[in-house]
Symmetry: C3
């Protein structure tokens, strides 16, 4: 019960953080207010929409009002902080600030676990579970970057999607070894979050194959 | 009955207009004939495909032959008018002409209503209904722009998707207030069309948040 | 039985070739190792994922382990050949070599037949069958190009998707004329492969409409 509420609040934080990162990118690209909303909502909810389309489920955000409300809050925070003060609110609206990156990392970990458990519930294989976790975690950000005319950041640098993938592999392995679902969820969440925070702290990068 | 035929003809007009805008963009980008067809069909049918994937319905265009035929007509008009005369046919094949913009606005309004009513029929919440209306109305155009390597126009300027969204909100509100479906449909269609035409006439733009 | 094994091996070859083309593009764009895997897997499996989402089926690659394993093999071949020797292995890892183009053409033909038969099994119309064949055959490559920030190659030049479309039309026509499924499959596969090989040999191009 309590864990459920805790996890729900992590998802909410993540949705808000993802929406803010989309909204911020829209402002930098001089999109209008609608473009800001589209980019914010795409980043926050796009990964989940793709996941649900692949699992032929009606998108959760189309039934439950929570996700859309959180996405709207994220867009509103970024837009208002820029329109009113043109300053960052406690650094939270600056996508490079520590505070924002921490919020974003919590979101990444929560979305990873959501995607992986949706895959497990549908009886998918290892690839399906990892893929759904990754799509839920970073799919929204990839849509954001493509719509903004940029190469998706996760493809070029940063230890971001990698944290998701390792977290999802942990999820799959523990799930197959029949650990209790609460343990699987908690471990996968924690590993993803920890890896992402370490990656921020120590500026981890993946190697690039040279041509 | 008569309204059904009228609405069907609006959808046909819209499909043709959307296909023409895709085909025109393909010519401007020097795509080959296949690229022209792909861009035309994507613009005309892409929004509906996404909507149906999200609602886990078999795409309407894969069952009913109408949409594909209309899309083909739109591509053929643009291609032939450019190949034969290299002049615009009554201004209709020039995407900036009044005649084209009017046709396109009718399509936008018809597609909006189709998306919103599909969402309502699936019992979705306000966000789901508005999102499906917007995806049906402008999703094809966004695919067109991304495939052509451009930032989707609706994100940057113009009062286009906004007309869709306001029309969809009208739809949702009247639907929840239990108006007759024919009234809901007609009102939403009219509001979307009117807003779009006013936007063209008075060159409405949404404000852009400044960084 | 034997035909089934033969076809399965064509699909495997195609999946490996598609993954290699994605991985190669990732290296050329200086993506990191994760980006290479994402681009390789998207190219190899993306078309099938879109097809299955449109048919509201659980993606085949999420149930059967084969596709993901083949995609991984393709990524590994490209990555290792570049990391270890920085030379092409028998020309196979050079996307412009004859050997690679041949492998890729087999994949294109096999994917085309898979998409068309999935559409036929779902009772779709001509447009649905051709569209699913084309999405399965070239959808992955289009995702690859969009993610890499390029205009999808198939839209601009080359007789590539056209081979798929003609092969799918053959499939549809023979299927409607009630030929045995094995004959339909073999004929469609052969036509697609032959057209693609002729196109490579004689550098066929589609005409481009001029503005």
């Amino acid at each position: 019960m309590l864990e459920g509420l805790l996890f729900e609040s992590f998802v909410a934080m993540g949705t808000i953080a993802f929406a803010m990162s989309g909204a911020f990118k829209a402002i930098r690209h001089e999109f209008d207010v609608l473009g800001l909303l589209v980019l914010g909502f795409s980043t926050a909810l796009g990964g989940g929409l793709i996941r649900d389309a692949l699992l032929h489920r009606t998108p959760a955000a189309f039934i439950d009002d929570g996700p859309a409300v959180y996405a709207l809050i994220g867009c509103a925070i970024t837009m208002l902080s820029h329109r009113l003060s043109r300053k960052h609110v406690f650094g939270l609206t600056d996508p490079n600030s520590r505070a924002f990156l921490f919020l974003d990392a919590i979101g990444l970990a929560a979305f990873t676990v959501m995607g992986a458990s949706a895959g497990a519930a549908s009886g998918l294989n290892a690839f399906g579970i990892v893929m759904l976790a990754a799509l839920t975690g970073v799919g929204g950000g990839m849509i954001r970057d493509v719509l903004a005319g940029e190469t998706p950041l996760v493809l070029k640098e940063d230890f971001y999607a990698t944290a998701t993938i390792i977290g999802a592999i942990i999820f799959f392995a523990m799930y197959r070894l029949s650990f209790a679902m609460a343990t699987v969820t908690a471990a996968s969440f924690m590993v993803t979050l920890l890896l992402r925070l370490l990656a921020i702290q120590y500026r981890w990068q993946l190697p690039k194959p040279k041509l």
